[in-house]
């Protein structure tokens, strides 16, 4: 609910939104003119990302043209409506901007011939829908609904991406028209079923098909103009559009027919049942939209040419009656302050124009004669008769039509006729002209096209021919004369009247049917969504527990396992390697190193620890001494001594300051796992070292350095020449390391000094 009742101050229409409506309006007119003067299809192409083979290819045939008319036409009316409905509401400019962006994305989606470009616009519509649904984002409920819509359609979108790429790889083209042209060449490919199932997942999430349908009624948290536009007239039909687009290529496949008919029918039946469980007019309309989308999916799946015509006609008819009904719901919300049908009766007295629009739209929705809905029902009946569907599908279809009649009656009769018995604070009021003009225009068009279907015959025929090439052009006119529709309409109206008379009883019965909630995919969605943070928490707490010893254990442990495996794999080669035993002095030096390293584990005093670790350095120096590098050995001795002396001095100075965060060192603990890991690590690494160094050594480098040291580098000490000339850059880097280490240590030293000055 956006407005409070009787908020007369905000009744003046918003000029900005009316001006913005001129954009889609002019596009609509240009489009109409072009359709009359230029023969379809229109094609054009620009290169975009040539290295990925992605071109902006435009392809407008009858199907695209029908969508373009709906997008721009209804888009204009939605903006006009919003100018009244959102007048004086903060954030209306933002909504208008998002609506225009959404319109652009929709246009892009229906005119793109390249699968990936189509996908791009497809995803954009999902994102923009998220932003639009979240209009009243201060409410927790709205945020959850927006999140749900985006997660469900986003998940489907990724399946769609995978499906498109797979399809593109199978067909060796990403152009939809090429794909249709060469369909017979690749329909036997084993991967095609997987690709199609992925594409189904994408289309079903977008068009709210079972089991992904639940997000759509929740998306009714959006403001009414948004619901009318996105969640009834355009975006949710994008999935059906895609299926209809690809129908020409795959309609002969059994998978295509079975999945679409089964899913479409079960969606329609399920949604019809859910319709009767609602009391909120907008949610009733939402469920009946889902039912229509199910019927459309089923029709795309049906073989035969009549089905293609039925898809095109129902698309058109649905937009003409459902959008006005949403506007009606918005007017009620705006004028009477509620959308709950129990509190809405006899509204005709306060809102006569809205009542007229509701009645005419409802007649079309119920498929009664003299409305365009009747034509749609007619074509639909013929399509089903033509393709000999299962009896179950036929019965389901009659039931769905019946519920649709009842829902139409609720929206038009229950709400507007009868006596207003509900006590109210203020009188409900009629909407301003921008809120009346759009629904009245649409229902008038509905009546007009119902009386003279030849007016829309060209566009519907062209759309149907785009879905099923080679279709008979006069199909709509022929269909109008058919007789089976009379019996179909009669039975639907009969069922509808029974349901309408017993609406409250049915509602009470179904409301108690909680198994529909528990079994429904929506509860599954919430369970999964609640499961995700739990899983995330569980895993993250285990992997990122904050204890350094654990991290080190994982690092060293994984390394040991990897090396163990790799050495194990190549073990037969290693066995042949002869490893010579080291000489005694070398062994002694190694023992010194090992002793120093081991001792660090057991010493607690920092100063002693430092001295003991000095043993490691002295050991290495001894090792250098006995392996033919005496000068290096002396350097190492000197460095080690200086290091220990300097570090000890520092430690002694720091010690005067109170001890800070060094208590972790105080408690040596024996960790059995760590012991095993470190022994394994040491053994594996040593083995690898021994084996590799036992390989013949290519001494080109050292020989060159030895030979060139004096003549070319003018230095007698090869090691020095290597350091300052041959590999001077390494030395530069190491000097950098020293400098930066000092800079890194500065704050630590300052910390110590600061602590000391505090202490004194």
């Amino acid at each position: 609910m956006v407005h409070s009742v009787g908020d007369q101050e905000t009744q003046r229409p918003d000029v900005l939104l009316l001006v913005l409506a001129l954009f889609p309006a002019s596009m609509f007119l240009v489009l109409l003119y072009a359709l009359i003067t230029q023969p379809l299809p229109w094609a054009a192409s620009w290169t975009w990302v040539p290295s990925l083979g992605i071109d902006l290819t435009l392809w407008v045939d009858g199907l695209a043209a029908q969508f373009l008319l709906l997008i721009t036409g209804i888009g204009t009316l939605v903006l006009i409506y919003a100018a009244g409905y959102l007048a004086g509401v903060t954030g209306r400019a933002r909504v208008a901007l998002l609506l225009l962006l959404f319109m652009a994305a929709m246009i892009g989606a229906v005119i793109s011939d390249h699968l990936i470009v189509l996908f791009m616009f497809w995803e954009l519509t999902s994102v923009l829908s998220f932003l639009l649904v979240g209009f009243s984002h201060e409410q927790e409920n709205t945020r959850r609904s927006a999140q749900q819509a985006l997660l469900v359609t986003g998940l489907g979108g990724l399946a769609l991406l995978a499906g498109f790429i797979l399809l593109g790889q199978i067909a060796e083209t990403y152009s939809i028209q090429d794909l249709i042209a060469r369909a017979d060449r690749f329909v036997g490919d084993a991967r095609l079923s997987a690709a199609l199932l992925l594409i189904f997942a994408g289309a079903f999430t977008k068009s709210a098909q079972f089991p992904f349908h639940f997000w759509l009624p929740n998306a009714m948290a959006a403001p009414t103009p948004v619901s009318a536009y996105l969640h009834s007239a355009t975006m949710v039909k994008l999935g059906i559009y895609l299926l209809a687009r690809l129908d020409a290529a795959f309609s002969d496949l059994l998978l295509w027919e079975v999945v679409l008919v089964a899913v479409g029918t079960s969606t329609a039946v399920g949604a019809a049942l859910q319709t009767m469980r609602e009391r909120d007019l907008k949610r009733i309309l939402a469920w009946s939209t889902v039912a229509t989308l199910g019927t459309l999916t089923m029709l795309v799946g049906l073989p035969g040419q009549g089905a293609a015509l039925a898809v095109a006609t129902l698309f058109f008819a649905h937009a003409l009656y459902k959008a006005p009904l949403f506007f009606v719901a918005g007017n009620l919300d705006h004028g009477a302050g509620t959308r709950i049908i129990d509190q809405l009766t006899g509204m005709r007295r306060y809102m006569p124009w809205t009542a007229a629009a509701a009645l005419l739209a409802a007649i079309s929705m119920a498929g009664l004669p003299l409305s365009f809905g009747f034509i749609a029902k007619d074509v639909l009946t013929i399509a089903k008769a033509e393709s000999e569907v299962f009896k179950a599908v036929s019965y389901a279809s009659v039931f769905v039509s019946g519920v649709s009649v009842a829902a139409a009656a609720v929206a038009a009769i229950h709400v507007f006729w009868g006596r207003d018995t509900v006590p109210r604070e203020a009188h409900p009021h009629e909407g301003s002209w921008p809120m009346l003009f759009p629904p009245l225009l649409l229902v008038t068009l509905g009546v007009l096209f119902g009386l003279a279907p030849t007016l829309v015959d060209p566009i519907l025929g062209a759309a149907a021919r785009a879905i099923a090439p080679g279709l008979d052009a006069d199909a709509v006119r022929n269909a109008y004369d058919a007789t089976p529709v009379i019996s179909a309409t009669l039975s639907a109206v009969l069922i509808g009247v029974v349901i309408y008379r017993n609406w409250d009883r049915m509602h009470a019965l179904l409301e108690r049917a909680h198994f529909l909630d528990v079994l429904g995919p929506e509860s599954w969605y919430w369970r999964k969504l609640a499961f995700l943070p739990k899983l995330a928490a569980w895993l993250t707490r285990r992997l990122q527990h904050g204890r350094l010893p654990g991290y080190v254990l994982v690092l060293i442990g994984t390394c040991s396992v990897v090396l163990f495996a790799l050495v194990g794999v190549t073990w037969p080669t290693w066995q042949a390697v002869e490893v010579s035993a080291p000489e005694l002095p070398v062994l002694l030096a190694c023992a010194l190193i090992a002793a120093g390293a081991l001792a660090t584990l057991f010493v607690r005093d920092h100063l002693v620890l430092l001295l003991v670790s000095g043993l490691v350095g002295y050991g290495s120096a001894a090792l250098f001494l006995f392996t033919g590098a005496p000068d290096l050995a002396f350097t190492q001795f000197a460095v080690e001594t200086v290091f220990v002396v300097v570090a000890a001095t520092l430690l002694v100075r720091l010690r005067r300051a109170p001890a800070t965060a060094s208590s972790a060192l105080r408690e040596p603990v024996l960790r059995p796992v760590a012991l095993v890991v470190s022994i394994t690590f040491a053994v594996v690494l040593t083995a690898l070292l021994l084996f590799v160094s036992a390989q013949p050594f290519d001494s080109t480098l050292s020989e060159y350095f030895g030979a060139q040291s004096v003549p070319a580098a003018h230095g007698r000490n090869v090691v020095n020449v290597i350091i300052v000339d041959f590999r001077a850059l390494d030395t530069l880097g190491e000097i950098g390391v020293l400098l930066f280490a000092l800079l890194a240590a500065l704050p630590l030293l300052r910390l110590g000094r600061g602590a000391r000055s505090e202490a004194t």
Binding site: G91, I116, L155, T570, V692, T700, L729, G733, G736
Partner: protein, 485 residues
């Protein structure tokens, strides 16, 4: 002639000058800005030059190969150096704003430039031991920057970072030593030939150890603990620099060594890399889904995104390498920008913890636009930049029949969407939990905004006109694989 050295020498010299001017902070900051600008100009020029004439090579001291240390500025290296220069400029610029900046201290600027010097040295060198040296330079500077705040949790982070990274670097050193012992070479091209001649059974463990050490550097599963343990303690501008550069050095080294120097490496390694990549993606994204602190969320996302890059490398094909290069460049920019946006969120709402911020969509819509654009890029929603990287990876994985990896990559991107949406819902859509809260009005954020919007524009332009970067990445991948047109 010495051009390839410039991206390393300029920041090193700037660092030195900054050390010398420690006592006059104003002068130091001027030098820092000038140095960063000079670096940006030189690396741009170098990048353009290399684009035109191909890789530039220089051997230090004019020693013949393979005896001297060689520096090679090729398309990949210069592009990464350019990103490093760009990020350094943004970081230095940020220091001028009122946004959550690093506490100024005399060691900050030298360490920033030193980090970039180390990273750029690693991008340019063609010598395995020299690569180790630059790793060490970067490691030391990173340690200094982590400890720089001096708080207790910063020291804790620095300790974890240091210990884990030193182990990784030591393992790398052991691998270098073993490879030298087995081949007698350090120069990349000589090494490539020598390793190819080596007995496969000897080579395999060496490759394995080398890859392992680099994976620890690159923060891959299960060796990534250092990254989320330390990143969130950094001030945002430094964090942006870290996330753009630090793990990327490891990635770069893997790409260079296993996509260029040692090709073809044993297939077993690439398979293992693929699984590691998938596990990194999953563990990273779940970590992000778990946390509420924006900095932690973004840090964990880095692991997940590193998984994507590794998966691309594991494809071991030209397209795979193209994807990896594209993703690396894109991610450096996007992640850094997101961190800066998070810093602005912090500046406006006073918290990094999502549970305690809110109300920004109404009061700061442009920040919302910037975040949305960047977040959608990170998730990979078309036509934003991340999509193209994801598309390349998924397409290549599907064409190689790696269906399971593809499925994981796609599912992970749904969870990425979920966690980015979490930031949006909490920080932007939710009303601020404190009803008395008002966004601060008079704060000097212009330099911060210049940085964020500049990066966001770059990201946006990559998204709508991806051909330039994809074409470039493809050329770089071709150069790596040696099939230059």
């Amino acid at each position: 002639m010495m051009w390839p050295l410039a991206p390393m020498l300029v920041p090193l010299a700037t660092a030195l000058l900054c050390v010398l001017t420690q006592s006059t902070p104003r002068r130091q900051q001027m030098i820092s800005v000038v140095g960063a600008t000079v670096l940006l100009i030189t690396s741009t020029l170098l990048f353009l030059e290399v684009q035109q004439v191909g890789a530039l090579r220089v051997v230090l001291g004019h020693w013949p190969l393979p005896f001297g240390i060689e520096f090679v500025a090729d398309v990949l290296g210069t592009a990464l150096a350019l990103v490093a220069a760009l990020m350094l400029n943004v970081t230095v610029l940020w220091q001028w704003s009122d946004a959550d900046a690093a506490p100024s201290s005399p060691t900050l600027h030298p360490l920033l430039h030193g980090l970039v010097a180390g990273v750029c040295g690693a991008f340019m060198t063609a010598d395995l031991f020299n690569l180790y040296v630059w790793f060490e330079v970067a490691l030391m500077c990173a340690l200094g920057l982590l400890a720089h705040g001096g708080g207790l949790h910063q020291l804790d982070a620095a300790l974890k970072y240091f210990v884990l990274n030193v182990i990784g670097t030591m393992l790398f050193l052991v691998a270098v030593a073993l490879i030298y012992a087995a081949t007698g070479h350090l120069n990349f091209s000589a090494l490539g030939d020598a390793m190819a001649r080596l007995d496969a059974a000897v080579a395999l463990p060496l490759y394995g150890l080398l890859l392992f050490a680099l994976l620890a550097k690159a923060a891959a599963f299960p060796l990534y603990a250092w990254l989320p343990a330390s990143y969130h303690t950094l001030p945002p501008p430094v964090l942006a620099l870290f996330s753009a550069l630090l793990a990327k050095v490891g990635i770069y080294a893997i790409l260079r060594l296993f996509g260029n120097v040692f090709t073809p490496a044993p297939a077993l390694l690439y398979d293992a890399l693929g699984w590691i990549a998938v596990l990194s993606m999953i563990a990273g994204v779940l970590g992000a889904a778990y946390h509420w602190d924006m900095r932690r969320i973004l840090a964990f996302h880095s692991i997940s995104q590193i998984g994507y890059i590794l998966l691309a490398i594991a494809m071991a094909s030209r397209t795979g390498d193209t994807a990896a290069i594209f993703f690396t460049l894109h991610h450096s920019l996007v992640k850094a920008s997101l961190i800066l946006v998070a810093a602005l969120v912090f500046r406006y709402t006073g918290h990094y913890d999502l549970r305690r911020c809110g109300g920004l969509y109404a009061s700061r819509p442009w920040l919302g636009v910037a975040f949305l654009l960047l977040a959608l890029s990170l998730v990979g929603i078309p036509p934003f930049s991340g999509f193209w990287g994801k598309y390349l990876i998924v397409r290549e994985a599907l064409s190689q029949g790696a269906y399971l990896w593809t499925a994981c990559a796609l599912l992970v991107s749904v969870v990425t969407l979920y966690s980015m949406m979490k930031i949006w819902l909490e920080a932007f859509w939710k009303p601020h939990p404190d009803p008395a809260w008002r966004a601060p009005e008079h704060v000097r954020l212009a330099p911060a905004w210049v940085g964020v919007s500049g990066l966001a524009l770059v990201v946006l332009s990559i998204g709508v006109a991806p051909e330039a970067l994809i074409g470039f990445a493809d050329a770089a991948a071709g150069a790596l694989r040696g099939d230059v047109p």
